[in-house]
Each structure stands twice: as structure tokens, then as C-alpha cells.
């Protein structure tokens, strides 16, 4: 068996007294798409944000290509420099895009290449242009975020992440803040990325995307990782009643 791109073992996370992640175990296979689904407040974002240590987990281990993230050894924090080094190869896309509003699309993408990767301005701009072309925004490079639609902004955010040439991409509900007619353009970019063999972890409420694009689907509830299975297994033969209940409310909410 191939080594995991991300190996999550017995991870626990507390917000004060609140137990947000409970002994979570999950292996993310390289080159595959893993979707995280589950009801609101189940800990999906928390788990995803622990993977690049934007959120600190309290116990357990998360390894990226074998290397522990956030801690030197369990219990002893990693230096800021080392953490930043590891984050370079982990791209993240947020629900609210989080583009820097004072920079154009191209500047948003070039910023990390210049300030983090240390590329020259012209080299960074060339690569930024390539990344933006890839997400279909060749004609919007000079626009500031305020002059872009939500779908375009999210595609810039994806370009900003992939320009850094990450080995792993994390998506936290990338289409939840979008008007329904703009969801498709973002999902298409993500599908293209998946077909290139990018390792992706996607928190999503788009069950269609999870069913058709994911290689594995993980279901969370109340801080527990209830099940990991193929999309087929999760959506058509759920082994746990909690999954079944979740899917039923999902269908009820989305049918008319």
C-alpha cells in the first residue's frame, strides 16, 4: 500500500471545555480527492484547519508526507520557520475567498511567490499569469477583487494556492458563499485539478461533487469521524444510521 499524503491519528481538539475533535483517524491517499461531509458544527472545518495547523490540535498526530506538522515531537511545538516551510506546500481555499482586496488578481497570486518563495517580480508575474489562465481568468488579471464576481474571486483564490505548487490542497466549503449559478465554474476548476492528480481534501455540502469526484468520503458528526468509504458506500449503502439521517435531511432540504 502506498504511504498516505496525510495521516491523521487519534487527533483531539478542545475549544476550552468543548471537545471539538474526538480521536479522529483518517488517511488521505496521495493523488486522490477526499471529501469531508457531515452536519454543521460536526468539526469538518476544525479538522481541515488542523491539517495545516491554522488550528492547533491538542493530542494525536497529523503527518504530511510522513512529517509531523505543528509539533517537533508530540507535545513540543515546532518553530515558526519550520511550520511556514511546511505550509508552503499545502494550499488552502476558504469559504470566504479571503483575497487581499488592495491587490489585483495577479498581485494576489504573485504575492506568495515573491514574499514566500522569493521569486523575482517578473518571474512571479509570469507564473501568476499562468495560474490565472489555468482557472480561466486570463482576461481579469488586472481586476481588484471588488471588481470580480464571487465565482471569479474563488478561482483567483485557487490560482493563488496552486501557483505555490503545493503537494496538497485543502478546500473549506469553497462554493458555499456563492450564488447557485456560480458554483459550477468553481467546481469545474476543482475537477480539472483533481484529474491532474492533485491530492485534495474538500469540506463540502455539494453532495453531487462528493458523489462524482471524490475517491473517498469521510463522514463526521459531533467531532467524531463516523465513517470513511467510497462515495458509493457512503451515499448508497451507508453503514451507520447517522449517515442515513444526515442524507435524508439533506435530500428533504434540497427537494421541492
Amino acid at each position: 500500500m502506498q504511504a498516505s499524503a496525510v495521516d491523521i491519528r487519534k487527533v483531539n481538539k478542545y475549544y476550552g471545555p468543548f471537545h471539538a475533535l474526538k480521536d479522529v483517524d483518517l488517511a488521505i491517499p496521495p493523488g486522490k480527492v477526499t471529501c469531508l461531509i457531515g452536519p454543521s458544527g460536526s468539526g469538518k472545518s476544525t479538522l481541515l484547519r488542523c491539517i495545516n495547523f491554522l488550528e492547533e490540535y491538542d493530542s494525536g498526530e497529523i503527518r504530511i508526507d510522513g512529517q509531523l506538522i505543528g509539533y517537533e515531537v508530540p507535545g513540543r511545538k515546532m518553530s515558526g520557520r519550520k511550520l511556514r516551510q511546511m505550509r508552503r506546500s499545502i494550499g488552502m481555499v476558504f469559504q470566504q475567498f479571503n483575497l487581499w482586496p488592495h491587490m489585483t488578481a495577479k498581485e494576489n497570486v504573485a504575492e506568495g511567490l515573491i514574499r514566500v518563495r522569493g521569486l523575482s517580480k517578473s518571474e512571479a508575474e509570469t507564473r501568476a499569469a499562468e495560474a490565472l489562465t489555468k482557472v480561466g481568468l486570463a482576461d481579469k488579471m488586472g481586476n481588484h477583487p471588488a471588481r470580480l464576481s464571487g465565482g471569479q474571486q474563488q478561482r483567483v483564490a485557487i490560482a493563488r494556492a496552486i501557483a505555490m505548487e503545493p503537494r496538497l490542497m485543502l478546500f473549506d466549503e469553497p462554493t458555499s458563499a456563492l450564488d447557485p449559478e456560480l458554483v459550477g465554474e468553481v467546481l469545474n476548476v476543482m475537477k480539472a485539478l483533481a484529474s491532474e492528480g492533485m491530492t485534495m481534501v474538500v469540506v463540502t455540502h455539494e453532495m453531487g461533487f462528493a458523489a462524482h469526484v471524490a475517491d473517498q468520503v469521510a463522514f463526521m458528526e459531533k467531532g467524531e469521524l463516523v465513517a470513511v468509504d467510497s462515495p458509493q458506500g457512503i451515499f448508497h449503502a451507508p453503514k451507520d444510521e447517522r449517515i442515513w439521517n444526515f442524507l435524508r435531511t439533506y435530500h428533504e432540504r434540497n427537494s421541492f
Binding site: Q85, R88, N98, H102, R115
Partner: protein, 220 residues
């Protein structure tokens, strides 16, 4: 009204106005710089330093500028801080304005969405770079109206410098009044100069605001 005295006092008044503008510009720049430093230390510095700074802020905000200036100018020499009137006045203005500027920057920084800082962290950007490239530019934009507003308030605080004999406009106006008993004319001149200064500042401020927020405002 007797405006002919202006022929005699005009040059002194103009010089006084020049000193006023100089005090205002330097006091504002230094005050902003100190305020910015304070705001950054409060955000990133160690807890104990934050407490010391909080105490400083409360003392400065809780006492009149006049009192601070007296303490600095007449009390300073007791601890070996012997300053001429103008440097003492500038230092006084800087200290007086700093807590207000710090507060403006602090809330400006708070207005920067946390997600935009996280996005920078997520690509591995170092914290000082995040401050320089994300927090400062966006924080300054949201601080701008309040900065302009407080620097306008500061123009009028400069008149207090006359008490320690800084030869600014108020000082010259007082001299003219006591020498000629033309209180009304003298003070009308004072008002006119201040009106011109304040009007200019607020116009420039509005221009600046329109210019730097141009890209940030969503098209409707």
C-alpha cells in the same frame, strides 16, 4: 475695527502661522508614528509591555494637554530634560496625540478581516511580512477617516504651545492684542487662519480617502 495694524503685525502673524503649521505637521507625524508603534506592540508585544503601555495611555488621556506641557517644560529640567520651547512643544504634542492615534490604529487593525491574515499564514508568509503587506495597508485604509479627524483636532491643540512661549500663531496674536488692545481683530485673524488650515486638511483627507478606497469598494 482697525485693520491698519495688520501692516505692522502681518509679518509676525504669518511667521506665527508658519510655526503653527510646522508644529501641527511634525506633531501629527511623530504622534502617528508613536501611536502606530504602540498599536503594534499592543497587538504583538509581550503582555507585560502591553500593561505598561495601557497605563501610559490612561495617564495621557486622563490629563489636560496644558498640564502635560507644564510638567514637560518646567518639570523636565528636574530630571535633566532641558528643552527649548519648540522641541518641548513638539515632544508634548507627540506624546499628547499618541494614545489617540494608537486607539485609531488599534480599531483599524481590528477591522481587517481575520481571514485575510489567515490566507497569508496559510501560504507560509512570515508574520512581519503579513503586517507589512496585509495588516498595515488594510488597517490604514480603515483608519484614515479617524486619522484625519483627529489630526484636525490636533491643529487646535497647538495654540496651547503659546503658554510655553513657542512663537506660533496664538503667541503672536496674544502679543498683538496686548500691545494694541485690538483683541477682536487679532482673534478674527486667528480664526481665519485656523479655518483655512482645517478646511485644507479635510479636503486633502477626503481626496486621499476617495483615492485609496477606489479599488476596495464593490461595484453596485
Amino acid at each position: 475695527m482697525e485693520w491698519s495694524i495688520l501692516e505692522q503685525y502681518g509679518p509676525a502673524l504669518l511667521r506665527g502661522f508658519g510655526v503653527t503649521v510646522l508644529c501641527w505637521i511634525l506633531g501629527t507625524i511623530f504622534g502617528m508614528a508613536l501611536g502606530l508603534m504602540i498599536a503594534l506592540i499592543q497587538r504583538y508585544g509581550p503582555r507585560w509591555l502591553g500593561w505598561i503601555i495601557q497605563a501610559y495611555i490612561e495617564v495621557i488621556r486622563g490629563t489636560p494637554f496644558l498640564v502635560q506641557l507644564f510638567v514637560l517644560y518646567y518639570g523636565g529640567p528636574l530630571i535633566g530634560l532641558r528643552l527649548d520651547a519648540l522641541p518641548a512643544g513638539l515632544l508634548g504634542l507627540t506624546i499628547y496625540g499618541s494614545p489617540y492615534f494608537a486607539e485609531i490604529f488599534r480599531s483599524g487593525f481590528r477591522a481587517v478581516p481575520h481571514g485575510q491574515i489567515e490566507a497569508a499564514r496559510a501560504i507560509g508568509m512570515a508574520e512581519p511580512t503579513i503586517v507589512r503587506r496585509v495588516l498595515l495597508p488594510l488597517g490604514l485604509v480603515s483608519s484614515l477617516p479617524a486619522l484625519v479627524n483627529f489630526s484636525i483636532i490636533l491643529t487646535k491643540e497647538t495654540v496651547i504651545l503659546s503658554i510655553i512661549t513657542v512663537p506660533e500663531l496664538m503667541y503672536q496674536v496674544s502679543r498683538m492684542s496686548t500691545e494694541t488692545f485690538r483683541y477682536l481683530e487679532a482673534n478674527l485673524v486667528l480664526a481665519l487662519f485656523f479655518w483655512a488650515l482645517v478646511e485644507t486638511i479635510s479636503r486633502v483627507g477626503r481626496r486621499l480617502e476617495t483615492r485609496i478606497t477606489k479599488h476596495l469598494i464593490e461595484r453596485t
